[in-house]
C-alpha cells in the first residue's frame, strides 16, 4: 500500500515525464525489487559482522556470568528436586544426595553445551543451525 502511494506521488510530482505511467510504474517496481535484494544481502553481511563484534567484546565478563549461571542453575535445581523428593517420600537424606550429584552432572552438561563443546539437544544436524552455539 505504501509502495502504491509512493509511486503515485512520484508520478504526480513530475507530470511532464509521466506520459507513460505504466512504464514508469514497472520501472519503479523493478528498482524497488532490486533495492530490496541489495538491502537483504547487505543486511545479512552487516548482522554477521555485528554478531562477531559482540561475541568478541564480551569474552571475559559475559562468558563468566553465562557459564557460572548455567552451572549454578544445574546444581540448584538438582538439590531442590532432591530436597522436594525427600520431603514428599521421607527418604532423607538419600534423595538429596543422589539428586545433588545428578544436578552436578546436569550443571556440567549445561556448561559444556553453552560453551559449544557438546551439541544442543535439538541439534543433531550440525549445518542446520550453524550459529546456535555463539549465544
Amino acid at each position: 500500500m505504501t509502495m502504491k502511494k509512493g509511486s503515485d506521488k512520484t508520478s504526480k510530482s513530475e507530470p511532464e515525464t509521466s506520459d507513460k505511467p505504466d512504464f514508469r510504474d514497472d520501472d519503479l517496481e523493478r528498482r524497488r525489487r532490486q533495492l530490496d535484494a541489495e538491502i537483504a544481502t547487505r543486511r545479512r553481511s552487516g548482522s554477521e559482522g555485528e554478531r562477531g563484534a559482540k561475541s568478541g567484546g564480551t569474552t571475559g565478563y559475559g562468558q563468566a556470568v553465562k557459564l557460572s549461571s548455567e552451572f549454578i542453575a544445574g546444581v540448584a535445581v538438582g538439590a531442590g528436586l532432591g530436597w522436594a523428593i525427600d520431603r514428599w517420600a521421607g527418604t532423607s537424606p538419600w534423595g538429596l544426595i543422589v539428586f545433588l550429584l545428578l544436578g552436578f552432572a546436569a550443571g556440567v552438561l549445561n556448561v559444556m553445551r553453552s560453551a559449544g563443546v557438546v551439541a544442543q539437544p535439538g541439534q543433531k544436524v550440525p549445518d542446520k543451525h550453524p550459529k546456535g552455539s555463539d549465544d
Binding site: T2, M3, K5, G6, R43, S47, K54, G57, T58, G62, V65, K66, S69, E70, I72, A73, G74, A76, V77, G78, L81, F99, L102, G103, A105, A106, G107, L109, N110, R113, Q120, P121, G122, K124, V125, H129, K131, G132, D135
Partner: protein, 249 residues
C-alpha cells in the same frame, strides 16, 4: 544513604493495596514496569505512524528492531517459529527498554529484581512446555532421550536431561538479573569514590578524575550490556521455542 550502593534497589510502596491478606501494592517497581511498557509502546507507535516509504531515522530504528528479532527467530526456530514473533518481540522490547531506562540516574531498574526476570523466564519455559505438549503430544518427551545412548544408561541420562531442562529458567533469569545488579552496583561504587575522594582537598579532587573517568567508561559498557542481555534473552527464548517446535530431531 547517598553512598549506599544497594539503596537503589529498595522497593517502596507508592499506593498500598491489600486484598484478602495479600499485598498487591503499586510499588516503584510496578511504576517503572508501566513506564517501560508505555515508553516502548509509544515509541513503536509514534515512529511507525507516518509509514513513510523512505523511513525517518526513528522509523528505521523501529523497523530495524523488528527485522532484528524476526531474523533471529527465523534463524533459530525456522519459519514455523514466526507464530511466536509477537511474544519474542514483546519480551525483547520489554527487557531492552527496562534495561535502558534503568541507566538513567534515580531511575529504578526493573530487571535487577530476580523475581521479575524469573517471572519472564517462567513465562518462556511455560510456553515451551504447554506448546510442546500441545503440538507433539507425548512425543515432546523425546527431547529428554538423546539418540545413540546405551540402554542401561538411559534412565540416568534422562534424569540429567530433565534437571538440565528445569535449570533453564533459573540460568536465564539469573544471568539477566546478575548482569544488571552487578553493573549498577559497580557504577554506584565508582561514582561514590568520586564524592569521597573530593573530600580530601586539592589532591583528592585531582585523584577523583580517575574514578570519574571509570564511571563514564562503565556507563558506556552498561549501555552495551543492556542491549546484549536483551539480545541473549531473546536468542535463548528462540532456541527454547525451537525445542518445542522440533523436539528430538
Amino acid at each position: 544513604m547517598s553512598n549506599d550502593p544497594i539503596h537503589q534497589f529498595h522497593i517502596t510502596k507508592l499506593i498500598p493495596i491489600e486484598i484478602g491478606g495479600y499485598d498487591f501494592s503499586f510499588t516503584n517497581s510496578s511504576a517503572f514496569m508501566v513506564a517501560t511498557i508505555a515508553v516502548a509502546g509509544a515509541f513503536l507507535f509514534l515512529t511507525t505512524s507516518s509509514r513513510g516509504l523512505i523511513p525517518s531515522r526513528l522509523q528505521s530504528i523501529s523497523e530495524m528492531s523488528y527485522e532484528f528479532v524476526a531474523s533471529m527467530l527465523r534463524d533459530a526456530a525456522g519459519s514455523h517459529g514466526m507464530k511466536f514473533f509477537p511474544f519474542v518481540f514483546s519480551l525483547f522490547m520489554f527487557v531492552l527498554v527496562a534495561n535502558l531506562l534503568g541507566l538513567f540516574p534515580y531511575f529504578f531498574t526493573v530487571t535487577s529484581q530476580i523475581i521479575v526476570t524469573f517471572a519472564l523466564a517462567l513465562l518462556v519455559i511455560g510456553t515451551v512446555i504447554v506448546y510442546g505438549f500441545m503440538k507433539n503430544g507425548i512425543g515432546f518427551l523425546k527431547l529428554f532421550v538423546p539418540s545413540g545412548v546405551p540402554g542401561i544408561l538411559v534412565p540416568l541420562v534422562v534424569l540429567i536431561e530433565i534437571i538440565s531442562f528445569l535449570s533453564r529458567p533459573i540460568s536465564l533469569s539469573v544471568r539477566l538479573f546478575a548482569n544488571m545488579l552487578a553493573g549498577h552496583i559497580t557504577l554506584k561504587v565508582f561514582a561514590g569514590f568520586v564524592a569521597s575522594l573530593s573530600a580530601f582537598g586539592a589532591i583528592g579532587v585531582a585523584g577523583s578524575i580517575l574514578p570519574l573517568a571509570m564511571t563514564v567508561a562503565i556507563t558506556a559498557l552498561e549501555v552495551l550490556v543492556a542491549f546484549l542481555q536483551a539480545y541473549v534473552f531473546a536468542v535463548l527464548t528462540c532456541m527454547y521455542l525451537n525445542d518445542a517446535l522440533h523436539p528430538g530431531h
